[in-house]
């Protein structure tokens, strides 16, 4: 009994450590865009594929989608997630023809390779992410 408890305890600790590791490394790859230059550098000129999430504070579906995106991107080491607040980046909104939020575009090597508008189910998001990853390998 004691033996099992101990190994279970150790396993839990290891699991937590690993989770925290990936969470913190994931947090490093969550980019909150603050300027057009930053967008250029960290998205268009990025070595990694980037998923750009157009977000607004007043948009309820955005508050559901953004965390979900963060969760799903976690499992893909090479993909970054950039969040753009549509209220503060009118030019980016115009350039990418964002007419509604949430809007998600996938950028690889400076090219938009995929896009979806509105709150979609996990399958669609997974497909978009996998498409990005596949092209990587």
């Amino acid at each position: 009994m004691y033996f099992k408890l101990t190994s279970k305890y150790i396993n839990t600790q290891i699991r937590n450590y690993v989770r925290n590791l990936s969470l913190s490394s994931h947090l490093n790859r969550l980019i909150t865009i603050k300027s057009n230059d930053e967008f250029l550098n960290k998205v268009m000129n990025s070595e990694n594929p980037v998923i750009v999430n157009f977000h607004a504070e007043w948009c309820e579906p955005c508050h559901i989608l953004t965390p979900k995106m963060m969760e799903l991107v976690q499992h893909h080491d090479s993909i970054d997630l950039a969040v753009v607040d549509v209220e503060h980046h009118a030019e980016l909104v115009h350039t990418f023809e964002v007419k509604a939020v949430p809007a998600v575009i996938a950028v690889k090597n400076g090219v938009v390779v995929d896009k979806f508008i509105g709150l979609v189910n996990s399958d669609m998001i997974e497909n978009l992410i996998n498409k990005l990853d596949k092209k990587n390998t």
């Binding site: 607004a56 504070e57 007043w58 948009c59 309820e60 549509v86 209220e87 009118a90 909104v93 115009h94 964002v98 007419k99 509604a100 939020v101």
Partner: protein, 492 residues
């Protein structure tokens, strides 16, 4: 920014980014014109401000309808129990103002954003500054970037209006208006609405529906300008739901009471003084056009007899290249669809070789009181005055919505009235409806009236059953006959 001496900066400069202004701007741009829209919101005495879109989007139609819906849903929850829905604690169902306020404001902000995106897409320049006329060909404005002067071939005055405050002590310090109510941080609590036009009634109506103690103070009549028999039924329906009415009363002052609430003093018809405390005092005593703020006199534009609205002919002011649309127009319905339609038609005439003028007659409208009132055409008073009692036939009926039986909702004020010319096919002059979904019911009949609807045609229309709109196809009792307008039963 514009090349010097190369002609005006724009083909059209629209002052006011509301329903009328934006519709005209977008239509003009789509016809190839170079357009700029100036929009600016002077904060209310309370400090409330809002984004692009005008009154309708921010502090009018949109938030009003959402809050009206919130109140109706409260009724629905109550009624649902008699239809079998079960709640663990039905007596404890209450409403959270903060959640409603946030949801409404989120929606308003999303509309502000879409509006801005649309303008950018249609290549309309949006300037967030208060536009003032410097002379008949120049508008000046101050934005965050500094001062600017703008010249244009045409100008469109679409500045709309703002709520009035009365000249009594404490009005601006302690009172709010419809400009503030939809974004109130704290729940309104016990509210006094001063004013019984449609804005006052709608506000008192949804506040009561959400569970607040609501009182309407009426100076003279309820819904002035509307059919007064219908107005009486609407206020009776509201009283039945618990809205209190202080009739023929005039407010005298508002001050802070010792407990922090607002003490309002008023005089009644016979001069007696009264007082009571409220958490919120909302003035809905009328709206004023914002022509003074934009210095129209500097452009030579004349205002109408009331000193502020513009008496335009086919939306053209006395200065040929300066036009006006929307609430700022004298003796035209102050409604969003009217402004939008007129704005679009004007843009087509200016830039699209169109000759179609706006038809301001027979515009349908709805008062979104708890029991709604929809109408199109003229009131009974206007009909009698215009044609004489002998030449007018008034059909009327009370009716019982099927859905009201089970929860035992009051049908006392469910009433319709059709005013027609007497003799011949009996052309319909006005249709009036009180009941749920009044706006939805009346809309189609507005199209029918545009086609010169007659009683003959109306009575030979087969109704959809069971609906409340079908009552218009069953109507047959005239006021003249003196017969009982109450229904016997359904399906007969």
């Amino acid at each position: 920014m514009a090349p010097i001496g190369d002609g005006p900066d724009y083909d059209l400069v629209v002052i006011g980014g509301g329903s009328g202004g934006l519709a005209a701007a977008k239509e003009a741009a789509s016809l190839g014109a170079k357009v700029a829209v100036l929009d600016y919101v002077t904060p209310t005495p309370k400090g409330t401000r809002w984004g692009l879109g005008g009154t309708c989007v921010n502090v009018g139609c949109i938030p009003k309808k959402l809050m009206h819906q919130a109140a109706l849903l409260g009724d629905a929850i109550e009624d649902s129990q008699s239809y079998g829905w079960q709640f663990s604690n039905p007596e404890n169902i209450k409403h959270d103002w903060g959640i409603l306020r946030q949801a409404v404001q989120n929606h308003v902000k999303s509309v502000n954003w879409v509006t801005r995106v649309e303008l950018r897409d249609k290549k309309v320049d949006y300037i967030n500054g208060l536009g003032l006329f410097k002379d008949a060909h120049t508008v000046q404005t101050t934005t965050k970037q500094g001062e600017r002067t703008i010249t244009s071939k045409y100008f469109l005055i679409a500045v709309g209006g703002r709520p009035r405050y009365p000249n009594i002590p404490g009005a601006t310090e302690y009172g709010i208006t419809s400009d503030d109510v939809f974004s109130l941080e704290d729940s309104p609590g016990k509210t006094l609405v001063i004013g019984a036009g449609y804005i006052g009634l709608e506000c008192a109506g949804f506040l009561r529906g959400l569970g607040y103690d609501a009182t309407v103070m009426v100076r003279s009549v309820v819904l002035r300008g509307f059919d007064q028999q219908m107005a009486g039924l609407i206020s009776a329906a509201m009283e039945e739901r618990g809205v209190k009415f202080l009739r023929k009363c005039v407010p005298k002052s508002i001050e802070k009471a010792i407990d922090g609430k607002l003490l309002v003093k008023w005089t009644s018809e016979n001069g007696q003084e009264f007082g009571d405390t409220f958490d919120t005092v909302l003035f809905a005593i009328g709206r004023r056009a914002l022509t003074r703020e934009m210095q129209v006199e500097k452009a030579g534009v004349q205002v109408a007899g009331d000193g502020e609205k513009i008496d335009a002919v086919n939306e053209q002011t006395n200065v040929p290249h300066i036009y006006a649309v929307g609430d700022v127009l004298y003796k035209k319905p102050e409604l969003t669809p009217v402004a939008i339609h007129a704005g679009r038609l004007l843009a087509r005439r200016l830039f699209g070789n169109s000759t179609v003028q706006m038809d301001y007659e027979n515009v349908a409208t709805t008062v979104f009181s708890p029991l709604e009132y929809g109408c199109v055409g003229i009131s009974e008073e206007v009909a009698l005055q215009r044609y004489g009692e002998d030449n007018v036939e008034i059909y009327h009926a009370y009716y019982k919505p099927t859905e009201f039986f089970i929860p035992q909702r009051s049908i006392a004020h469910c009433y319709i009235k059709v005013i027609a010319k007497r003799g011949g096919d009996q052309k319909v002059l006005g249709m009036h409806f009180i009941g749920p979904q009044a706006g939805e019911v009346i809309q189609g009949f507005a199209a029918a009236m545009k086609c010169n609807l007659t009683m003959n045609a109306l009575m030979s229309t087969v109704g959809i059953h069971p609906t409340i709109a079908e009552e218009f196809t069953r109507i047959n009792v005239t006021k003249r006959s003196g017969k009982d307008p109450n229904p016997a039963s359904c399906c007969s």
